[in-house]
Every structure is written in structure tokens, then in C-alpha cells.
Symmetry: C2
Subunit: 356 residues, 2 copies
DNA sequence: TGGCGCATCCAAAGCGGTTTGGGGTCGATT
DNA sequence: AATCGACCCCAAACCGCTTTGGATGCGCCA
């Protein structure tokens, strides 16, 4: 009954199709077609309808459209909150911003689900069977990521941001060429004369970290330098983790002269460790980071602070979203892949290896 | 016609209420009521229905529920992308994560709209009239923020994260006591003997920045110290901005001995400027930051890197979302407000003022 | 024994759009 | 003059659920 009241009062609830149609002396059918650009309506009628729609500020009810068409006009991003280490990936913000721009332009909604990681599978199944979204973006793929098989099984279109080593199923992804980027960065340090190059990597169950490590390994192998596990670490990409890894390695008997580091944030922690030790980054110790080009964490202005492999995660978001919308629009077409190359930006944090 | 195919094939499209009902030999009415816990259904029947629903993996179609009930079961977060300075606020990620936890628990969807800031008003109007959401969270309020009046006008429930000085309308908000936090921090520095205390603030059309400046001013005034505009800056809270502000101030004839800084990220830039000058933070120069307790940017572990005013933005997200859901559930009730106090955490970045 | 009330269940009318399957009109064709 | 297409438009079904307004049956009391 309170419902009756609301819809009764409802001057506020806005014009609907039926009202608009009767105001125009037309049928809802015709009005709907006129507004949606169908050909079987007279052009002058269409203009009359369009004008009236604007005048009365008519906006079709999304809920009704969704039910009638069977499309959600929305895509989902499932953000798992690790129950163990509660890290909110700092690149999410920029990726989401990029993807969101694409969605806005295409009149799609973006729905975010933040769920404990043990409920992730259930969330995907629900998203599909309850019909909340037409597709999803898969974040932070791991090796042999189970989500790919799952999404295949339930038949929900998806694009992976990154790749999942070990998966045989075909699927759509957009990734940065992490292997090549880290190989180039390592070669760059080698060319500067460095021989003890440390790798401060992300967590190695994350696919991107595996690829970065591979690129690093390739470059060293090509110069016949053996991997040294004592100067290779793998951890979350936080300031603290970068600090601790660098501090530990610098304290060793044979410290590295250069660092390769997975993110700008951990790079800042590394710098802290370096300076705490009375050394100078870019003189005593060289550092190369991977720069996601986060808007709140620009790597300097004219002169970059860090030498870096750079690839905009915001742009990745834009493009991944476009791929997904395309997949949704053309369900027949096969999976799409796109590999972005990172630039190598020379900044102030690298220098020739000190004479031994 | 391709539609026919899909729904024709659609073993996949899942069980719906009608099918389930006929399988049970019951009417849709009864099944609906059984599942939604209405009293006018026999307990044994209810159990039979529940069991069948689980067995057939029935999940009610969200789109239909939304249309039938008139509720969106979703809340919106509008994230304006400033056309001038394209900064994605780094605290969004954590705030969103916190809010998202609350939504997940309550079976609400979170829909994010990333829009150019000149389309913000239109976005809110659309969200309301198209019925996409039941309420919204307003981010990053400014002085005399126009959104508050707008949302009042269009009748969309909302909670502001922060406050908007100058607004006379009553509205719901959740904020940190920024004024008191910065006043305490300033007093702390004063007690350590500092007299030239710089303020590296956020952009001062942002409400929180105004309040922080007020707290800073109060503390100085209480000790009869005049404000000195040359050691007060106001800019985006990026690493670069912090660096530049600190560098400029340190280069002056009468540099500050202490800094009050709006964020951990700009604090890291300040540290860079300090060390670049051959000074040590926490010895030559004291620094206090505001710490939003971002998960990827922890302020040290046992021993905090920075002395800081701390307040978890993730927790703020959780609570703001709860307030909003409460507002939506009880449209009659008046606006709610909640003021969170920040802790003052003593870290390694502060020390007594050097003897002049 | 007739009637009342309670416990259960159902048919049908929404919700607000889209889409199907015609149905007039009218000028052109034969 | 009858036929035939365009061309425009409409009535009604439908999407999958909720909710209203009964209907049915049964125990129980006067």
C-alpha cells in the first residue's frame, strides 16, 4: 500500500513510455521504434516523438529495458579480497577508470563485486544466472587460473587483463609484453656494466611476475650469468616489501649493484633502503622499475625519477573494456588477444656500474 | 530470430520461477512466497520448494526482480574525471573496496560511473530517472558542493564521503575530523619546539583541505604564531607535488624545520626532496603526514615510517555504505552523520626541533 | 449444523519496456 | 477496376518476477 502511495504521488517517478505515447496520440510501439531508430516510422513522426521525449525529459526505464531485451547492459569486475593478505591492488583504480570511460561512452554500466576470494566462483555463477551482467573482466590472473575454465563453462563472455600460463583453452586477453620489457631492462643494465642485478618481483603465482622473471632470466642467460636466488625476491608490491627486500640484499657480502623492480611503489621502498644505507640511487645503485603510469604516481615530469618500463594501465583498461564490449556484441566471433609493448624510459635512477 | 535460437537452445539460461513451480506442481505465487519467507505458506511446502530450488540451482532473475519491485538493488558511485588534471584519486580503491564489502554482504550491486566532470549532473539525473540505482555515494566534496542541492532536488538518497562547507541543506555524511587531526599534529610539532611548520595541503577547493588548514591555523594561533603563506602550499596529492613543494620551501632563506603533509604519497615526495638536499627526515626535518591506511601503502610495520594522523579510508567506505543502505531502507528517517576521529601515530619522521 | 476464521494456495494483474504479427492507406501496376 | 507493395502504425504477447484479491478446505464453536 505504501507502494500505491509512492506511485500515486509519483509526479517524480518520471514519464514512461505509455504516458508519452498517449500524450502524442501514438501507440507505445511506434514511440519505442521512433526513439530506437527503427525504419518503419515516418521521419516527421520520429521528429515529433524525439522532440516530445526531450521536452518531457523522458528516459526509458533501464530495468524494463533489461528485462525486455534480456541484456544486462552492464559488465562486471570481480575484485577478490584475499582473505590472507588484504591488499587492494593499487592499479585497480586506474584500470577501472580507463575501463569506465569506455563503458560510459557506450552506455554500459560497470558493476563491481568485492568478494572474499573463496567466494569468487560463486560470484561468477551468480552474475551469470541472475543475469546481472553481459560479461566480465578477469583481474590479476594466476598460473593455471581456474576462472578461465569456469567462465568458459558457464558461458559468460570475458576478457582477462593479463594471461594465464598453463591454460590450454582459448580465451580473450589483453596483456603487456612483460617478458620482453624485463628482458630489455635487464639488457640495459648489463650494457651499463652491471653484473649483479637483483630482481624484486611481485608474487610469483601471479602470471605477470612469472613472465617478468622469464625475461630477466633470458637476458642473464644470454650473457652466461647464472641466476642467484639470494638476489631474487618475490612479494607483494608494497612500499614495505620493496624496502625490506632491498635492505636485505644490500646488507649481504656481495650486494647487487642494480635492481629490477616490479612497481613504482616498491621502488620507492627500495630507494628508502638505499638511502638509509648512505648510498645514492642512480649513482651507487641503479634501479629500474615497471611504471604503470598511475595518475597519482607519475614517474617525474620532464625527467623521470626512475628508469622504467612503462605501460599505461589506464589505457589497458580502456582497451580491455572495448574488447569485451566487442565480444558481447559479436558472440559468434572467436577470442581476441592484444599484446601491448612497454616503453623503456631512461630516467635518473640508472648509471654505469661502479668500477669494482 | 537469433533470439529465438538462443532461448531455444537455452538449457543454459537457467531455471525460472515458472518452470520450477510447474516442476513442483505449485503456482509461481507460492514458490515466490516460499523462497522469500512469507508466512502464508506451509512449512513443509517451503522446505520442499527450497530443496527443489537448490537442487535445480534456481536463482531468481535480477532484472525481473528489479522491474517488479521497483528497486534497483544497486548503489552508484560517480567518479568524475577532471578534464583538467586527470587524477584518479588513489584513495578510491580502498574506499571502494570497503564499500563493496558492505554491498556484497547485503546483496546490493555497486555500479561505478566514470564520467567527465562536466557531465556529472547529467549522470546523477540519469541514474535516478532511468532507475539504475537506489542511492549514491558522493565523493570528494568541495566547498559549496552543487551536488548536494542537486541530489536533494531529484530525490536520490545519498551519503557524502566528507562534508561540504557552506551547504545549508541537511544531508548525510561520514567524515574524518580533519580539523582536529591537523590541529593535534601541529600542536605535537609545536611541543617538539618547532616554530616554522610548513603545510603541504591538498587542493583547497576540496573540503577536507580547508578543514585541515583550519586545524593547522588554530594550533598556530593558539601559540601566537602568524601564518606564513610562503610555507603553505596547496596542490594535488601526488609524489611530484609533494617533492616540488618541499624542495621550494627548503631552498628558501628561512626553511621550515617541520612539514605537515596531506598524504603519504606526497610525503614520499617530500622525503625525496629532503634527502636530495642532504638532510635526514626525522632528524633535521620533521614530517607528519595524514595516513589513509591504504593497504598497498602501509606506513611501516611495527615502527611507522611517518608520524601520522591515521584513519582508515577502507573502514570509512564500509561505514558510508552502511549508512546509505540504511537510508535506502528507511526513507522516512532523517539524515545521518558520522564523524570519525583520526589517531596520532608517532613514527620515525619527527624529532625535536634542531637548536637554532 | 451453519458459519466463522485460519491456513494454504492460486489466477491474474501489474512493473515498463521490446517485438511479433498483422491491418489500413494509398499510389502504382496490369 | 482489381491487385500489389510500400509505408505507417497498432494491438497484444512477452520478459520473469511480485503482489493483490480472492478461492478452497478444514477445524471448531455456538
Amino acid at each position: 500500500m505504501s507502494f500505491k502511495f509512492e506511485t500515486g504521488l509519483g509526479a517524480k517517478h518520471g514519464m514512461n513510455l505509455k504516458e508519452l505515447a498517449s500524450k502524442l496520440g501514438l501507440s507505445p510501439t511506434t514511440v519505442s521504434r521512433a526513439l530506437n531508430g527503427y525504419p518503419e516510422v515516418n521521419e516527421t513522426t520520429r521528429e515529433r516523438v524525439m522532440a516530445a521525449a526531450k521536452r518531457h525529459n523522458y528516459r526509458p526505464n533501464t530495468r524494463a529495458i533489461r528485462l525486455a531485451t534480456g541484456r544486462a547492459m552492464a559488465v562486471g569486475h570481480v575484485i577478490p579480497i584475499a582473505t590472507r593478505h588484504e591488499i587492494v591492488n593499487p592499479v585497480f583504480a586506474d584500470f577501472i577508470a580507463g575501463a569506465g570511460e569506455t563503458y560510459s561512452r557506450n552506455d554500459y554500466d560497470m558493476v563491481l563485486s568485492v568478494v572474499p576470494d573463496d567466494q569468487e566462483e560463486d560470484t561468477y555463477r551468480g552474475l551469470k544466472s541472475k543475469g546481472n551482467v553481459d560479461g566480465v573482466i578477469v583481474h590479476a590472473p594466476r598460473m593455471n587460473d581456474a576462472r578461465i575454465g569456469l567462465l568458459h563453462e558457464i558461458g559468460l563472455p570475458f576478457v582477462v587483463h593479463g594471461r594465464a600460463t598453463g591454460t590450454t583453452l582459448p580465451y580473450s586477453w589483453l596483456d603487456v609484453n612483460n617478458r620482453r620489457a624485463f628482458r630489455r631492462a635487464t639488457e640495459f643494465l648489463l650494457d651499463l656494466g652491471h653484473r649483479r642485478i637483483a630482481l624484486v618481483n611481485g608474487l610469483e603465482f601471479m602470471d605477470f611476475a612469472i613472465r617478468r622473471r622469464a625475461g630477466y632470466g633470458e637476458a642473464l642467460a644470454a650473457r652466461d650469468i647464472a641466476l642467484d636466488p639470494t638476489i631474487m625476491s618475490s612479494d607483494e608490491m608494497t612500499e614495505i616489501a620493496g624496502y625490506k627486500a632491498a635492505r636485505r640484499m644490500l646488507a649481504s657480502a656481495t650486494p647487487p649493484t642494480a635492481f629490477l623492480c616490479a612497481s613504482m611503489i616498491s621502488g620507492m621502498g627500495m630507494r628508502r633502503a638505499i638511502e638509509e644505507r648512505g648510498l645514492a640511487m642512480g649513482r651507487d645503485i641503479s634501479v629500474i622499475i615497471h611504471d604503470d603510469d598511475l595518475s597519482y604516481m607519475k614517474n617525474g615530469e620532464d625527467l623521470p625519477i626512475f628508469t622504467a618500463t612503462r605501460s599505461s594501465v589506464r589505457e589497458a583498461g580502456r582497451q580491455a573494456a572495448e574488447m569485451l564490449l566487442d565480444l558481447i556484441a559479436h558472440p559468434g566471433a572467436g577470442p581476441q588477444q592484444r599484446l601491448l609493448e612497454a616503453e623503456l624510459i631512461i630516467g635518473q635512477s640508472t648509471a654505469p656500474a661502479p668500477k669494482a
